[in-house]
């Protein structure tokens, strides 16, 4: 127990008096006199329902969020009437440009709308009946073991920050919760995919080391770029390869791809917003990425990620299959790095001449 009430209410005469008065029907009704902004939000498109964007109106609009939130450290709803004495919840993320993105509302609504459930939305029976090369089966089990590790860290990241984000940024907190659910779903589906086809294989020290370095970023924006953009971009490529294993896997990994793409979109939006509102941050973030981009190589090049991808992409372990697989993986890795750097540039962070990743992946 770390926080106590300011008094023992059971022994407090004022409390007893208040209770007695209520019992006698003596209401206070001071709140009833409040006149706040009387908006009446309605769906702008009935097919879409009532979105957060529809509710960003008047005194309640996210456009009114200041760069520095100094006026509210409590859980009071944004736009409600604040009263003296509201406690400090200990939020550390109180600066809009560190965390915000212009696409938050859209992505949150999309994540709910495009939800799915691994237990029933994947045809597990048909998967069990699918004829795989044994090496591809083992590779899928290994890949799913590795992806379980990646997804777990993907789930830890929003959890690590959401309770520190000021409640004024409700829509962002909601999106972080949606990301937690997306990643929980990924953890679930990869575990189910592996355990339905032979079981898990080997965890990866390299993958985990890289992930921990990214997860433990000192501040939100760096963590967001690392997890959402760097790892997210890599996953989009990995899922594209894994989707080729079978028709069922195509369904499974396309859905994972959709979830990952929303993370990437938020990462881009967050970076773009940050850079648009803060001078001199390009160099700081470029330096950060100079330091951590090796983690991308650590994950992509880890034996437990690379080799199963090659086997899946080639269809087996015969020399011709491996040759085809590594050509495809080399190609997709180059595409993924190019896309990643393109996303950074589109968000305002140009580092195509600075990153060591293109040279590393071109060498193969």
């Amino acid at each position: 127990m770390a926080y106590f009430a300011d008094r023992q209410y059971f022994d407090d005469p004022e409390t007893i008096k208040r209770g007695t008065e209520f019992g006698e029907g003596k209401l206070i009704l001071d709140w009833y006199e409040i006149e706040n902004d009387r908006v009446r939000c309605t769906p702008s498109d009935p097919r879409r329902g009532l979105t957060y964007e529809d509710c960003s109106k008047g005194a309640y609009s996210w456009d009114l969020l200041p760069e520095f939130v100094r006026h509210n450290y409590s859980m009071a709803a944004r736009g409600s009437v604040l009263v003296p004495g509201l406690p400090d919840m200990g939020y550390t993320e109180n600066r809009k440009s560190d965390i915000w993105a212009d696409n938050i509302g859209e992505l949150y609504e999309e994540s709910k709308s495009r939800r799915w459930a691994p237990a029933v939305d994947i045809d597990w029976k048909a998967l069990a009946a699918t004829d795989f090369d044994p090496a591809v089966t083992a590779s899928m089990c290994q890949l799913c073991t590795t992806l379980s590790e990646v997804s777990l860290v993907g789930m830890e990241f929003p959890s690590r920050w959401v309770y520190l984000v000021n409640q004024e940024f409700l829509e962002l907190k909601s999106l972080l919760c949606a990301q937690m659910m997306d990643q929980a779903r990924a953890v679930e589906v990869f575990r189910k995919r592996a355990l339905s086809s032979g079981g898990l294989k080997r965890a990866s020290a390299n993958v985990q080391q890289a992930l921990k370095e990214l997860l433990m970023a000192d501040n939100y924006i760096e963590g967001s770029i690392g997890i959402n953009l760097l790892v997210g971009s890599l996953l989009l490529g990995v899922y594209r390869v894994a989707a080729t294993a079978s028709t069922i896997d195509a369904h499974l990994f396309r859905r994972c791809q959709q979830d990952a793409a929303r993370r990437v979109a938020y990462g881009m939006g967050n970076l773009a917003y940050h850079l648009a509102h803060r001078e001199g941050r390009q160099e700081v973030l470029n330096e950060y990425l100079d330091l951590v981009e090796h983690c991308f190589a650590g994950i992509a090049g880890a034996t437990e990620m690379l080799e199963p991808l090659i086997v899946i992409a080639g269809g087996g372990t015969e020399p011709g299959q491996v040759a085809s697989g590594r050509a495809r993986v080399a190609s997709i890795y180059r595409v993924v790095v190019d896309e990643y750097l393109g996303r950074l540039a589109a968000a305002g962070l140009e580092r195509r001449d600075r990153s060591r990743l293109p040279a590393f992946f071109a060498a193969a």
Binding site: R7, Y60, K112, S148, E156, Y163, V187
Partner: protein, 379 residues
């Protein structure tokens, strides 16, 4: 930089050489194919339910084999995988099953994933657009919704705060936490949207209730957090949702409360099943829990100062502000509060904390109030 990987992969010659060698020659290591793990082929026990976590509860991977103290896995590896040397320590602080596990947690996870709903599309917003609420009802309802949107996200922040502390072997619990976070985000969303669609907007924040939220947030152990958040606070909110459904001004509002109720009941279910598990496997925790609940009940009693919550209930249940409405509303609200308290103690009884009643000052007050109401013929 608070953590640096033990290798800089772009400068690690051994890593780079191995990668390039594999990619250029096609000679793969493939040692992972012989990982020391169990071979399993899990299938659905019930095809209509699909492949569930319970179907994965098999030798080598299952939750049934979880030890009381997890000593082997300190990293991000999924339970049952081979763990090689060199993995990092995720620095989990919650490594005892009894600190987090709950009977049927795997069932709650599947239910949560399957019963997700969307506040944007599953409420008849266009119908509500037409609903005109009289000033007294509209304002009282907007105040109630302001309170609800204010408090819901505590049930995101509290479990999320613990997520990184929970050992990766308790993956079903971690997934439950993630899904609960989403459930609560949706609740904060639906109540905000409803408040902003009433035509009255948001009303006043509730200082007294926020103290209670801070108490929930600052619990020192996961179990303390769970017993007060899941069982006490969410249990009370569950009763409140049922009551709110009863006093809702429109059918669409009733549906809204039924939907949030489902989620809340799942969270209360987890809280109860965790408390049962905890008391069974770690009975010495009882005194700590009693101490924590004592303060939780103190906060609850103090919420009498939250007139911005109590009074809207009176108005909504009495359907107005006239004296006869208030009198009726007071009786109904009093009964609701009695029900809330009774259900709280029933839940604790059911979990094995039967001595809470005799130790609780809240229960003392409850008994006195009950006797008073009986004397008046109100119950």
């Amino acid at each position: 930089m608070s953590y640096l990987a033990t290798s800089h992969f772009l400068d690690d010659n051994e890593f780079v050489d191995k990668y390039l060698y594999s990619m250029r020659t096609g000679e793969l290591d493939l040692s992972w194919m012989d990982a020391a793990t169990k071979e399993v082929h899990c299938t659905s026990a019930n095809e209509r339910r699909g492949l569930t976590f319970r179907d994965l509860d098999v030798d080598g991977y299952g939750f049934s084999d979880l030890p009381e103290v997890v000593r082997e896995n300190r990293c991000y590896a999924p339970r049952g995988a081979e763990i090689p040397d060199g993995v990092p320590d995720m620095q989990a602080g919650v490594n005892r099953s009894s600190d987090v596990w709950a009977y049927n947690v795997e069932g709650y996870v599947e239910e949560a994933m399957s019963r997700q709903w969307d506040a944007t599309t599953d409420i008849a917003w266009t119908e509500l657009q037409e609903a005109e609420l009289p000033e007294e009802i509209g304002k009282a309802y907007a105040q109630l919704l302001t309170f609800l949107t204010e408090v819901e996200m505590i049930a995101t922040d509290v479990p999320a705060k613990w997520m990184g502390q929970v050992n990766a072997d308790f993956i079903e619990v971690k997934n439950f936490i993630a899904l609960q976070a989403m459930d609560e985000a949706r609740h904060a969303e639906v109540f905000r949207k409803r408040a902003l669609s009433t035509g009255y907007g948001l009303m006043r924040a509730s200082v007294q209730n926020e103290y209670n939220l801070k108490f929930l947030r600052d619990a020192e152990t996961f179990s303390e957090a769970s017993v007060t958040l899941h069982l006490q606070a969410e249990g009370n909110v569950l009763t409140l949702f049922r009551f709110s459904e009863y006093i809702s001004p429109t059918d669409a509002d009733k549906k809204m409360f039924r939907l949030v109720m489902q989620d809340e009941a799942r969270h209360v279910g987890y809280g109860m099943q965790h408390l049962k598990w905890l008391i069974k496997h770690n009975p010495e925790c009882r005194e700590t829990l009693h101490a924590h609940l004592e303060e939780a009940e103190n906060f609850l009693f103090g919420s009498i100062f939250a007139n911005e919550v109590f009074e809207p209930f009176v108005i909504l249940s009495g359907k107005g502000l006239k004296k006869e409405n208030i009198d009726k509303g007071l009786v109904i609200t009093g009964m609701f509060q009695m029900r809330q308290t009774e259900e709280y103690f029933e839940r604790l009884d059911k979990c094995g904390l039967t001595d809470r009643r005799e130790r609780s000052r809240l229960h003392e007050v409850y008994e006195l109030t009950k006797q008073g109401l009986a004397a008046q013929g109100a119950i």
